[in-house]
Amino acid sequence: LLDLDTQALSLHTTWNSFLLSLTDWATLRIERGVNKDLDSASEFEMSDIFYFARRGVESIMDDEVTKRFSAEELESWNLLTRSNNNFTYISLRLTVLWGLGLLIRYGFLLPLRVTLAFTGVGLLVFLTSVIGLLPNGRMKNFLSEKVHLMCYRICVRALTAIITYHDSENKPKNGGICVANHTSPIDVIILASDGCYAMVGQIHGGLMGVIQRSMVKACPHVWFERSEVKDRHLVAKRLSDHVQDKSKLPILIFPEGTCINNTSVMMFKKGSFEIGATVYPVAIKYDPRFGDAFWNSSKFGMVSYLLRMMSSWAIVCSVWYLPPMSREEGEDAVQFANRVKAAIARQGGLVDLLWDGGLKREKVKDTFKEEQQKLYSKMLVGTQEDRSRS
């Protein structure tokens, strides 16, 4: 218990110092930038616009946010054409090697994996429906656990995912919420093959819908209709109901809301942190040298993404189970979410960004522009006031 306390304290202090240093850095950067152009005389000059123009064009060429939504650039080449942007003909030997790799991957590995995948999914649907016929009780839970684990492990083999689990003593327990960073739909399979979770999500049609409906027969998951998703109170209520029932499995949630490219962690949506249950953070980090697991949903559909995954060499990843956290006194949901996010980012070696994952599709708020204006005006008007005073 003492351990947890000291850990929580150190997290708190690191969080505070992190916040402070962030604000300091932000101010310093902008001031430095503005200072460079304003030289010694802090007066408005026609050349002041250069600073803003350059910043603007820099962001057009490449901005911090979109860097997170496009696949990571690798330093070395892992014989997959898709991860090398500058793929040109270099030498015969390399091409032969690449061709051989292609043959192995598409001719041998892919069919094997696809068969495994079909088996895994088929078994899941079939067996969970069968278990659903049993009366509720310990037997049912036991069997459902076994079935789920088995099928997910088959799916893991189907993707040839080599997973290293760290700190399994911190695995999520009943009545808690498991929170992880999101890189691809495979995250679910990876986590679920090591423990049983209740999934949260929207009900889809088609194959996904079939799988979802059969899963819920064996053990309770939280599936929402599309209309219910908009109603935040309903979502929160259902989640908290589930969490309060200690016999139900821990909920698995990805608070970023969308797939990020595994070099950073974006802002967590606060919904899942408002419920008040214990949060078990999990950090997932993929090794990009073997295959890029990031799902760029605007570029690839689900099926083509899965095919790409199954024709890579392997998916190597590490999963860290972090010690559980709860909301502290005087902390609101947003601060709590940020604290969890920082812990996950630190463990996984990912960059902790404050930007919103929803920016993939939306626009920005006006308050940030105001801040820039404030800083710039402080430089100009502040000094003018000094002059008039003296």
């Binding site: 803003f52 003909y89 105001e370």
Partner: protein, 244 residues
């Protein structure tokens, strides 16, 4: 001749799997050299091999290049162009630029967006996109090209013209007091009072007029603007390392 070449190009470009930097370089460069001989270009495209790349690079070195951007950077810019172009239209509209978060946060963001669009145009295609970005290229490593007919985009004069147009939105060749006030308001927002704004603008106009020693009107002409920028290290302020 140009339309025949364009048709040929379109047929070739439809072959999506040849999305190499050479293709894009060609696609871009064609718009810059309308007087390159058709026969030599056809010859290069008939062979999709490394020879094709060599021929193309020799073309680039000998011909006029308004924008000196290496082919791999051009590829990166093209990918950026494609990622901004969410709906795959092949051109960008104002909304696509506004979706860039940091640009929306920028006080003069709308002006920068406007500078991509020629007056009356609603879309930006890739060559125009690169042309505007080329203003920000570092000048250090430029080689002097013989027989250069067009001035490179990152020359001082063209850069000044670009920035001047950021101020001068109605493109009448002068920055009027009203236009200056507008820019100042955008850069300072609600943080200063109207009087402070007026005094800043007044001083700026006076200074420009003094330096130029020309007509004491209430506006800043391009020459006055240029004179006031003489002491400014434009290359330092306006270069972005990305385009190295």
């Amino acid at each position: 001749m140009e339309t025949a070449l364009i048709k040929y190009l379109c047929r070739f470009i439809k072959n999506k799997n040849t999305k190499t930097d050479n293709l894009i370089l060609f696609r871009y460069s064609f718009t810059e050299w309308p007087d390159v001989k058709e026969s030599s270009i056809e010859a290069t495209f008939l062979q999709k091999s490394s020879r094709h790349r060599l021929m193309l690079s020799s073309l680039t070195q000998s011909a006029v290049l308004c924008v000196s951007v290496s082919s791999s950077h051009l590829l990166r810019l093209y990918e950026r162009f494609e990622s901004l172009d969410r709906e795959n239209r092949g051109h960008l509209r104002k909304e696509d630029f506004q979706a860039v978060r940091e640009l929306s946060m920028n006080p003069v963001g709308d002006r920068i967006i406007g500078s991509f669009f020629s007056p009356g145009q609603e879309t930006v295609d890739f060559p125009s996109f690169v042309q505007v970005l080329a203003h920000f290229r570092h000048t250090e490593n430029d080689r002097i090209r013989d027989g250069a007919q067009k001035e490179p985009a990152n020359s001082t004069a063209r850069r000044l013209k670009f920035v001047f147009q950021l101020y001068d939105q109605d493109r009448d060749g002068k920055i009027s007091r009203a236009e200056l006030l507008q820019v100042l308001r955008e850069m300072l927002g609600m943080q200063v009072t109207e009087e402070q704004l007026q005094s800043i603008a007044e001083r700026a106009i006076q200074e420009a007029n003094q330096e130029a020693n020309q007509d004491k009107d209430d506006a800043i002409s391009f020459d006055e603007f240029r004179k006031s920028m003489e002491k400014v290290n434009i290359d330092h302020k306006m270069s972005i390392r990305f385009l190295e």
